[in-house]
Symmetry: C2
Subunit: 714 residues, 2 copies
């Protein structure tokens, strides 16, 4: 029997587990009619937005499919087959990415009301329910990603027996990250435009509390949590998973020596299959780990959530040791292709233990990244407290301090990543880096669960507030939500950290693709070559430009919301008295339109920037661009995600009664910081991960064409 | 006669011209006693700070001299000689850098009062006087830089006949940029801590206008303009000039083939001398251009200032054509060393015209960078107006918009630089890039003049305000000052743009030094080598970490000022009534101490980061670090300088009566943006240029040692 079939099967098991867990979540009671009214409004708004978002994206996807199909027509032989399967892979990747987004959103808009209801009877039950809601999303997303990659590979390799069963997967990778980019960008703009708009008129101008039902933008705000934080994040981690595994598969495939005979190739295919087996085991570990999340006697919520993540990492590690030993204990590495553009692919003296240790490096990265992110964004440590203190002297010093904390927070993650890079490369060459990146994925399910948990509890609080539930309910949801900012920041740190490693693997794949396309010619990327540097500078600039677009977009869309809310307050004076129901739909509609309009240009920038640089300045400049965008994107993403999280929690820390508490001048200053942090951490910052991936996969797909043209300006 | 003697002589002519111009500025009337009182307080505060700053820096410099001397002792033969002269060069470079800072500060604190007096009788006279004050600084700084480089080279080559007359110059480069870094950092912290502190308590809390004599921090604020914007900037552009020319000299020297015979070498030395001749001609052009600055009938101040810059560029270009033709029209390039780490040093088919065109590229960079910077920071264009408009919805949207403008402003300068890189490299290899960078220096004198002009008029306004001169005087100084934000942003864009090109030349020099140290072994920096990437990621992170230190430092120091001002208001109620003179000295003292304390760690970070990476991970990682710090530093510097300038002018635009004018909610929001922009644009942003240079020169100096160790962890 072909053991490989186990890998898509494990994914299906995860999907079934997600389904069963979803049934159990949905069986929880949903509360009274008023609660249901509100929850329904949020659900409808979210579904309506998602439908329109994916309709818009479909146009882009169809255009790309047309271009790919046209290219496939012009090619011949194996190139044509590869392009056809790339096209199909793209379509399926896009579809799965959309499904991941839907899965995250659907369960979240159904869990929130049930969590609000459960919060009536205490913290532990509500925590469990909220986490389980998140876990549905986590298992579904990771399951879909593994199913897509493992299923396609099984189809190409074992069923169809394609001569090149690996390269068409890049289409799947591209589809998944392109759609994720749009979902992250569109959802990110939606959620923050609604949030900023609702806050600025509601809290600041009208002086009504957050989630007050008199605020016409309140439903849009709650919709935003679901389409941005749940759907966008689900799509984002879907592509993180898919692209990382595909990058590793490709690298393993490229390492197989060209002169190997069929039986040798069958043996070497283990290098390709290895990442899939790791993923399959990890996803089963994730299912088991769901049961580890429960609150101890200390009522420590963060600790309860961490239990799941640590369990999943620990179980995975045991499995990884077993898998690595089984596959590679007697493996002969001495025939491996050694060099990738002058760099070691896989050393001759590699052992199974080296590969296992490379996976340990990946787990080390996850754990340390999580801890350092918590340090920078939790109310318990000095960075957040420093921002809170600086709020005493006004919003300007709050902003200066938050910017500084964001910038400073690049230090340790960068050091963690370079140590990981250095160690995994020393252990097992470029392939070691790929394995470390894949090992990081083992906790994807739990990370998504922790992240989705945040907006579920946030929404639960909103529903409690809007349906006038007793204060004790809101207190419980607030307690649950308090760690939400940190878990969200953790997810982003995790995603960008894994992106950095994965992108380096993709870069190695890119070099392989170029070498294949250019035949005998060796391709070497010199750091001091002005052509390479041309690309590198442009690449380093792109995350800045991209972030600027997104920040501006949020500003513009929020402005439209503000005007609409002001109009409603002006024209319907009954709203503030609580006599007239505001026109929630009008706000939802405005944010929807704005988000869809604003998401297109940044998305196209990601696709066209590498193509323009590649076709104008050639493959060397494009390589420089890839590294430039990784290096500067990593810093920007860390700065914005952590800085924004710290601002948000500095406000929460003040609201907890420090520096004068709610309503004090310090609190007012902290609200400004929080508002600035919103597009920083929830729109621009998290969109950089898919940005990097889209640019890398575009480069991979077009490497052959670009190599054959070689740069129009050269 | 050795024509080379003309190059230090031209520098001396510039210094004499500066002296004569200074005499003419100082002969202008100084106004009444009250004005003199205030101006004297500023002068004394500035001198006191500068003395203490340079005393502190002296400790660092002496420590470095001791280390260098110790290394020189351990070396033998030519290496020992080179290290000794490097040590002496370091000391002289440090001294000259300090002198440049002094020159900028001294003339500024004497011009301000005279400009205030001249403003009584109209705009044109005051403009001319303020610009001439700036021009003294410009000619002095450029003159000192050229004198140092050309004088040392003449000494080493023509007088002492050193076997290696070029490498010891790196000591001079290191000395100049290290001291400049401290001056930029210390001065930047000083000026912004005083500014932010004075504004937050004075304007925001006490509700008194800017420059009100009742504000105890007002003198410190005015002192800050001089020690930060004048002295810091003077030192900064001094090192920009010195390091760029030295980088070009080194590259020219390395291109000389090792097997050349003495007469061939004499001929090839033209490549080394060429940058010096360009500098000598340009400095004479600068002297002439001073006379071009005068206001037309349209009263357009910016245009008047640009006349000087364009004149200087145009005259230089004519001279460059003549010099290039004279030196290279019959030159045989076919013996040149072709390769630097796999990259073309100077193509065999280079002609004098190619070299001249490379210098045209440099001028093109200056002009386009100036124009794009003006676009992003002037009240006339949409970026600043967008920020002003977004202030209507509060400080949060103002900040979001300003952050976005800063990020967006990286696009065009990056494209300008990569086009320049690509063109100058296509024309004449790496040497072409060096010549483009040197050509950029031709306008240094004028740029410094335009920049110093800003704080002079700013201070003149302060003196007018504090000594109760008629409103018409303040109006005139305000009109002059309005373009000051733009000219200051222009200077920073210019400095960082030139730093990017110069740093690439230094990187080529670094590779040459490594190759020399490693003998036969070829050194190749592969972009996909994880060791190189380790350095590259760390390098990309450094500008973020460095900026974070500086932003925090300003926050802390400003906090100390705020507390002191509050204390004075509290304990001396007579101050607000105008009956008691505030204790200005106490504030000056506090800022001085804070700035000196805070400047040490960022300074040491710049020195030790490359050493740690180099000695731990070896020369390849250090090379990666150099490129990483250039790429991300370029973006950060552009973002912060332009963003800060735009914030400042958005406030000015509102104060001009737009969006509600002074005192409106939009104005209040814009003040917050301006305050955030202060450390952004005047502390962190401009310090990145010397940061990049220090890291590069440290790498150059220690290349040999690091190559011999090769990385402890490898």
């Amino acid at each position: 029997m072909d053991l490989l079939i186990l890998t898509p099967l494990a994914a299906i098991v995860a999907l079934i587990a997600a389904f069963i867990l979803a049934k159990s979540v949905l069986s929880a009671p949903t509360g009274d009619e008023k609660m249901n009214d509100i929850a329904d409004a949020v659900k409808e708004g979210a579904s309506a937005y998602m439908n329109r978002q994916y309709t818009t994206i479909t146009y882009v996807a169809v255009a790309i499919i047309a271009v790919f199909a046209a290219i496939a027509f012009t090619q011949e032989g194996q190139a044509s087959t590869t392009w056809w399967w790339t096209t199909i892979g793209f379509a399926v990747g896009a579809l799965f990415s959309a499904l991941s987004g839907y899965a995250g959103m659907s369960i979240a808009v159904r869990s929130n009301i049930r969590v609000a209801e459960a919060a009536k009877s205490g913290l532990p039950g509500a925590l469990k329910l909220a986490f389980n809601g998140g876990a549905v999303s986590g298992l579904a997303v990771a399951g879909l990603a593994l199913l897509g990659v493992a299923g396609f590979f099984y189809l190409f390799d074992s069923v169809l027996g394609l001569a090149d069963p690996v390269n068409p997967l890049v289409g799947f990778a591209f589809g998944s990250c392109l759609i994720s980019l749009f979902a992250r960008v569109g959802g990110g703009i939606y959620t923050k435009a609604a949030d900023v708009g609702a806050d600025l008129v509601g809290k600041v101008e009208a002086g009504i509390p957050e989630d007050d039902p008199r605020n016409p933008a309140v439903i849009a705000d709650n919709v935003g949590d679901n389409v941005g934080d749940c759907a966008g994040m689900g799509a984002d981690l879907f592509e993180t998973y898919a692209v990382t595994v595909i990058g590793a598969l490709l690298l393993g495939y490229f390492l197989i020596p060209e002169m190997a005979n069929p039986s040798e190739i069958a043996n070497f295919m283990k290098l390709v299959e290895f990442p899939l087996y790791l993923g399959a085991f990890a996803i089963i570990a994730s299912i088991i780990s769901v049961f580890f999340v429960r609150m101890g006697k200390d009522n420590n919520i963060m600790k309860a959530l961490y239990k799941g993540m640590y369990a999943s990492a620990a179980i995975s590690l045991v499995g990884f040791a077993w898998i690595t030993h089984s596959l590679f204990s007697g493996f002969d590495f001495s025939l491996i292709t050694l060099e990738i553009g002058g760099v070691v692919g896989l050393p001759l003296d590699t052992t199974w233990l080296d590969l296992f240790l490379a996976s340990v490096v990946g787990i080390f990265v996850v754990v340390t990244l999580v801890l350092i992110t918590e340090y920078y964004t939790s109310t318990k440590y000095s960075p957040v407290r420093k921002i809170a203190k600086s709020s005493e002297t006004g919003s300007a010093t709050n902003i200066i301090s938050g910017l500084a904390v964001g910038m400073e927070s690049t230090l340790v993650p960068t050091l963690i990543l370079v140590v990981a890079l250095f160690l995994s490369y020393s252990l097992a060459g470029m392939y070691g880096i790929a394995i470390a990146a894949v090992a990081m994925l083992s906790v994807t399910g739990m990370i998504i669960a922790m992240d989705t948990y945040g907006p579920i509890t946030d929404n639960a609080g909103g529903i409690a507030e809007m349906s006038n539930l007793p204060d004790s309910v809101r207190e419980n949801t607030d307690a649950l939500d308090a760690v939400g900012n940190t878990t969200k920041a953790v997810t982003k740190g995790y995603a960008i950290g894994s992106a950095a490693l994965a992108a380096l693997v993709l870069f190695a794949d890119y070099i392989f693709n170029l070498q294949k396309a250019m035949g005998e010619e060796k391709i070497v990327f010199l750091l001091n070559d002005p052509v390479v540097l041309t690309g590198l500078f442009i690449g380093a600039m792109l995350p800045f430009l991209f972030s600027s677009f997104l920040m501006e977009a949020v500003g513009r869309a929020a402005g439209a919301v503000i005007e609409e809310v002001r109009r409603q307050f002006r024209e319907m004076p009954g709203i503030m008295k609580g006599e007239t129901r505001p026109d929630y739909g009008a706000c939802v509609d405005i944010v929807t339109k704005s988000a869809l309009k604003e998401m297109v240009i940044p998305g196209l920038l990601a696709v066209f920037a590498p193509l323009i640089v590649g076709f104008l300045f050639g493959p060397l400049a494009l390589g420089g661009l890839l590294i430039g965008v990784i290096a500067s994107g990593l810093m920007m993403a860390l700065m914005m995600s952590n800085g924004g999280g710290a601002w948000d929690n500095a406000k929460k820390y003040i609201e907890d009664g420090n520096h004068g508490g709610k309503g004090s001048p310090a609190h007012e200053a902290a609200v400004v910081g929080d508002t600035v942090g919103d597009p920083y951490k929830d729109t621009a910052g998290p969109s950089i991960n898919p940005l990097i991936k889209v640019i890398n996969t575009v480069a991979l797909i077009f490497a052959g064409l670009i190599a054959s043209i070689g740069g129009i300006l050269l």
